[in-house]
């Protein structure tokens, strides 16, 4: 695989919504490059006739319970962990500009 470039890393920070300081970029790039170079080891394995593993246990399928009403958590206890909330709702910064 082609080595990870600086601009790829900048795109990744945007995709994963993780801000990185300018000085964090070079060591991070070097780290990721060496890990990616290492995992290229897998390319030597012939997997042309192998189905990917989707569940580690054989004979385990989607677990679905009966659609019945059960107890659920109190709204207050969930809201108490929200950084900001008002009138029973989680509050976030405005996402639409207000019209003048």
């Amino acid at each position: 695989m082609p080595p990870l470039q600086r601009e790829d890393l900048v795109t990744l920070t945007h995709l994963s919504r993780i801000q990185c300081q300018e000085e964090e970029i070079p060591p991070l790039l070097q780290d990721l490059q060496s890990i990616l170079q290492y995992v290229d080891l897998l390319q030597e394995v012939d997997t042309s006739h192998v189905e990917p593993c989707n569940h580690v246990l054989a004979n385990v399928f989607n677990a679905q319970r009966e659609d019945t009403v059960g107890p659920c958590l109190a709204r207050e206890s969930l809201l108490s962990n929200a950084p900001d909330h008002t009138e029973g709702m989680i509050k976030v910064p405005p996402i639409l500009k207000s019209t003048p």
Binding site: M1, L4, D8, L9, L12, T13, L15, S16, R17, I18, Q19, C20, L28, D31, L32, S34, I35, L36, Y38, V39, D40, L41, L42, Q43, V45, T47, V50, E51, P52, C53, N54, H55, V56, L57, A58, V60, N62, A63, R65, L73, A74, S77, L78, S80, N81, A82, P83, D84, I90, V92, P93, I95
Partner: protein
């Protein structure tokens, strides 16, 4: 009191030798005296656990039936929920997060009258092998405070090794129970994938994570597994086991069983560790277990598969920490985008960011086939290889780690740290039960260990191997000098 096994301690409570409050007071005073030097606990539930103990003493006085874990103080890794208490995952992001519900394992322990002592330290979000990535404090190895206790469940391992509690729970995604158990000289068990409910465990890599116990005695491990190994409808990966009789079967004879050994994996091990490993095999032979060489060629790909899949799953799981519904929201954020960007930047440590970025990369358009799908295919080959090998042997013996506990700060390179997980990762990739068993000490007095892996759902058999090995080695219970 702290040198007794959990089983003996509970028995002494039930027969009136100790009250639950005396037991708790004893361990609380040990924590107060010793934990400043070890740093195992992030939080100690002083008043909560004393109330629990008082209630248990009253329950006993009333003559009500007592649970299997009655009066046993147990510590939980701080990524497991206890309702109304903080779950920080050793991350700045969750420093003020209060769990609105208890994990299934917490409920199961409390239902059997265990006493929850508090929460132990870990690498942030369980990502690391040394607890050097905890946002709050360093945990030191009770056998040598210059060294790491291992990670990520290093706090739980150190707490049990220092006899600050007889049992602690950890979680194991790529060795996070077994590696610290080996570094601290305790038993550490990762059950079969799905055997113990993960409801209420903060997810790291969902196809790999398992909760399991640390103990000093094999019978305590069986006792704890008997309680924890229950089907849970709140965890869609929970499996129904036909038998959960760990305690009544752990002493079953293992004479005539076969232990497979992939000798080719030992080549790069330091001589002292090789010799110890072979001496451990010798002990199994003396018990009547036959040793058979096996070949596991795909194991050389374990670390590469793991660091693709675990980071991919982590990047997905940790996307929920966006500063909206819980966790820390950056104060400098004025727009929604900034809430995400700055909250993650401020809340996550270096290792967590590195893994999220790597996971995002291997899942990104154009690379998913080459990395993620490829890793899932090689993983399928590894699972098949184990299946074939287990037709010839009942369990597989491997080292736990390529070294004993290393000095804090000595491993600077991320990849070097990852490569040290080479022996523990395969059990997670294949969903196998695996255990780390203490096997003596090196010349510097640091603990050594051997690892056993069993076929899926053969957790009881692994515990039988563990029981007989521990009885055979029969080492007097030596305590770390720091903790006598």
């Amino acid at each position: 009191m702290h040198t007794l096994s959990a089983s003996e301690l509970s028995h002494k409570f039930k027969t009136g030798h100790y009250t639950a409050q005396e037991i708790v007071q004893h361990f609380l005073s040990r924590i107060e005296k010793l934990d400043p030097h070890i740093g195992a606990f992030l939080e100690v539930y002083h008043s909560r656990v004393l109330q629990q103990a008082q209630a248990l003493d009253e329950k006993k006085k009333r003559g009500e039936p007592l649970g299997k874990l009655a009066a046993i103080p147990i510590a939980l890794k701080d990524n497991i929920h206890v309702k109304g208490e903080r779950t920080t995952c050793a991350s700045t992001f969750l420093r003020d997060y209060t769990a609105p519900f208890s994990a299934t394992v917490t409920d199961l322990l409390e239902k059997e009258d265990a006493l929850i002592l508090g929460k132990t330290n870990l690498d942030e979000f369980a990502m690391g092998s040394s607890v050097e990535h905890s946002a709050f404090q360093q945990t030191f190895n009770p056998w040598n405070p210059q060294c790491t206790p291992g990670g990520s469940s290093g706090g739980s391992a150190a707490a049990v090794a220092a006899r600050l509690c007889p049992i602690a729970l950890g979680s194991d995604t790529g060795g996070s129970i077994r590696q610290p158990a080996s570094f601290c000289g305790t038993l550490g068990f990762k059950p079969t994938y799905g055997r113990v409910s993960r409801f209420g465990l903060v997810a790291f890599a969902s196809s790999l994570d398992q909760i399991g116990p640390f103990t000093n005695y094999p019978e305590d491990l069986s006792l704890c597994m008997e309680v924890l190994s229950q089907y849970c409808e709140k965890d869609s990966t929970s499996v129904k086991a036909e038998h959960n009789d760990f305690s009544s079967t752990h002493a079953n004879s293992i004479k005539g069983k076969t232990l497979g050994v992939p000798y080719h994996l030992l080549k790069e091990l330091p001589v002292e560790l090789q010799e110890n490993f072979k001496a451990s095999l010798q002990k199994f032979e003396e018990i009547g277990v036959s040793i058979q060489e096996i070949q596991c060629p795909t194991l050389r790909y374990a670390v590469a598969i793991y660091y693709i899949l675990a980071t991919a799953e982590a990047s997905t799981n940790l996307a929920r920490f966006d500063g909206i519904r819980y966790g820390t929201r950056s104060e400098k954020a004025h727009t929604l985008e900034q809430v995400y960007d700055y909250s993650k930047e401020e809340g996550f440590g270096k290792e967590v960011k590195r893994r999220i970025l790597l996971g995002t990369y291997v899942l990104s358009s154009g690379y998913q086939e080459a990395y993620y799908k490829k890793a899932q295919k090689v993983r399928a080959l590894m699972i098949e290889e184990f299946r074939t090998q287990f037709q010839h042997c009942d369990a597989i013996a491997m080292p736990v780690t390529p070294s004993t506990a290393f000095e804090l700060g000595s491993v600077k390179d991320g990849l070097e740290m990852y490569l040290a997980d080479t022996y523990t990762i395969p059990a997670n990739l294949a969903g196998l039960p695996a255990i780390s068993l203490p096997s003596g000490f090196d010349k510097e007095g640091k603990p050594l260990a051997i690892q056993l892996l069993g076929p899926q759902m053969h957790d009881q058999e692994v515990c039988q191997f563990a029981y007989h090995f521990c009885k055979k080695t029969n080492e007097p219970q030596i305590l770390p000098q720091l903790c006598t």
